[in-house]
Amino acid sequence: MMMSRLKKSILYWVLLSPLMIVILFPFGLMFVTAVRPRDELFVYPPRWTFSEFHWGNFVDMWGKTNFGGALLNSLYVSVSSTALALVLSIPAAYALSRHRFRGKGSYRNFLLMTQMMSPIVLVLGLFRLMVQFGLVNNLNSLVLTYAAFNMAFTIWMLQSYFNTIPRELEEASWMDGANHFVSLTKIFLPLAVPAMVVTGIFSFINSWNEFVLALTMIRSTENYTLPVQIFAQVAGRYQIEWHHVMAGTVLATVPVAIVFSWLQRYLIRGMALGAVK
């Protein structure tokens, strides 16, 4: 039985709609709370509607919470850890993609193991490690740990893209007398830039969203990253300023969500290529 494309599309959208409503619910919730006047937060009976858009909540929130500082901290940690992960991953991925060497199989299995290791299982050991190095309450503790935990993923992604860059291009440049270093930096790396950008963005998002390690390593308010900053506004408080919290989550999540949505097809492809397989 053949259905027309239109009928099929309508059927599919209807089938997907319950899930979509549940997915979009928190976003709607975030927005209507972030722009709601403070005295309309707790009304009975609870309702979606409110009297007027109160954009001032964002300004208010920025002034009263340490949002700006946490934003800078998150940026610093995410950018630095991504840079570190990429610098260490690019040669490793290149070696996996282009060379046969002894221990390659074990190295790949080791990577898989580290990818599966979750920070929470190691969190106590990591905390003790950072105490020893005097890095507790120092953002660099997060840079190091995020880079290490992201590395397996970045190496997989890069390797799978490197495999698609034809070997012949480098070999041709060797014929022309270029040495390996020159062929690597002049021929290979420029071709690999898009792969590095995409991989870097995913690593950035991972670091941006990480919670457990940041909660554990960072002890003082001025060093909080965004997830911990938002958490601190709701945890163990009698009076929670929900309109500030939601304004904060809107600012912290929406830009990342847009970038992610734009790039998610690369993730699907990367998954199919190597990250999972």
Binding site: Y12, W13, L15, L29, T253
Partner: protein
């Protein structure tokens, strides 16, 4: 020159290996060592204690309760995720109007940090002013607001459902990767043989998708079993430890109660469980790789292109 070339790949992987050893390898050793000692509140190791920390953990009723809830949490979240993700992936793999938009929406929860998702839901489930109550009251499903997070069974159920919601994008992505690699000609042949859509699903799609389903199960078990943010943000394992799973119990022991010996013992136990599942995953990946080389190189090339 030749020996230098041969050692180049090793030099290339060495820096990454070094950092991983330092950040992931060393803490494991430290945890193992700590778990065998009596530890002060401030992390100083005292006397060698043998397996005392482990017997101490095994003598604690809360450990078994958390373990039991961890099993429920993991099985429910992973099971629910698979049941929803497979049909969603089948739909998204088919061509229809607005498919890219649908994909973007389904993938959205993946882009948001679990912490933020949990914070937003905690507000949405608020018993007094939560908009879930508002929605359900508007639809006349309930007459009175419900305190979703005030009792453990209800709170735990809500946390499981949110756990499912945030696991769907990743799982769907794995399935989409799998579906895109299925051979199109088997479907065409089956249509010639008069197969219905259900026959195709039952006898072609499902068997061929099995390796991907297995991988999705193992990876999700690993992630869900270790997931702290949702429960920590929404209820911190409460009320009255009623939503504690192993990770929240571990976190409390380590960073609230200063029982570092016990906490490291639990970390080690969890590490063991994790190791079993990871080994399972490694075996599956290796099997998938040998399969695809047996099938012939052209298939890999197709995916890569």
């Amino acid at each position: 020159m030749k020996s230098a070339l041969r050692s180049t790949p090793l030099l290339m992987i060495l820096p990454s290996l070094g950092l991983a050893m330092f950040v992931i390898g060393y803490p494991i050793v430290d945890l193992a060592w700590t778990s065998l000692h009596e530890v002060s509140r401030f992390g100083q190791l005292r006397d060698f204690a043998g397996l005392y920390n482990f017997t101490d953990v095994f003598g604690e009723p809360l450990f078994y309760e958390s373990l039991w809830r961890t099993i429920i949490w993991t099985v429910a979240v992973v099971g629910g995720t698979l049941l929803i993700s497979l049909p969603v992936a089948l739909v998204l793999n088919d061509d229809f109007i607005g498919r890219s938009l649908a994909r973007v929406i389904i993938m959205l929860p993946w882009a948001i940090s679990l912490t933020m998702t949990a914070v937003v839901w905690r507000w949405g489930l608020n018993g007094r002013a939560g908009l879930l109550n508002a929605t359900l009251m508007d639809l006349h499903v309930i007459a009175e607001p419900i305190e979703w997070l005030a009792t453990a069974p209800l709170a735990f159920t809500a946390e499981i459902l949110i756990g499912i919601l945030v696991s769907i994008p990743f799982t769907t992505t794995i399935f989409l990767g799998g579906l895109s690699s299925l051979p199109q000609d088997s479907y065409e042949a089956s249509v010639v043989d008069g197969a219905t859509g259900w026959d195709q699903f039952r006898y072609i799609t499902l068997p061929l998708m099995k390796p991907f389903i297995n991988i999705a199960i193992v990876l999700n078990v690993i992630y869900v079993f270790n997931s702290l943010p949702i429960i920590w943000v929404m209820t911190e394992g409460g009320p009255a430890n009623g939503t504690d799973i192993l990770v929240t119990y571990l976190y409390k022991l380590a960073f609230r109660f200063g029982q570092l010996g016990k906490a490291s013992a639990i970390s080690l136990i969890m590490f063991g469980v994790l190791l079993i599942f990871t080994a399972l995953y490694v075996v599956m990946v290796m099997r998938a790789e040998t399969d695809s080389t047996v099938d012939g190189e052209h298939k890999d090339d197709d995916v890569a292109a």
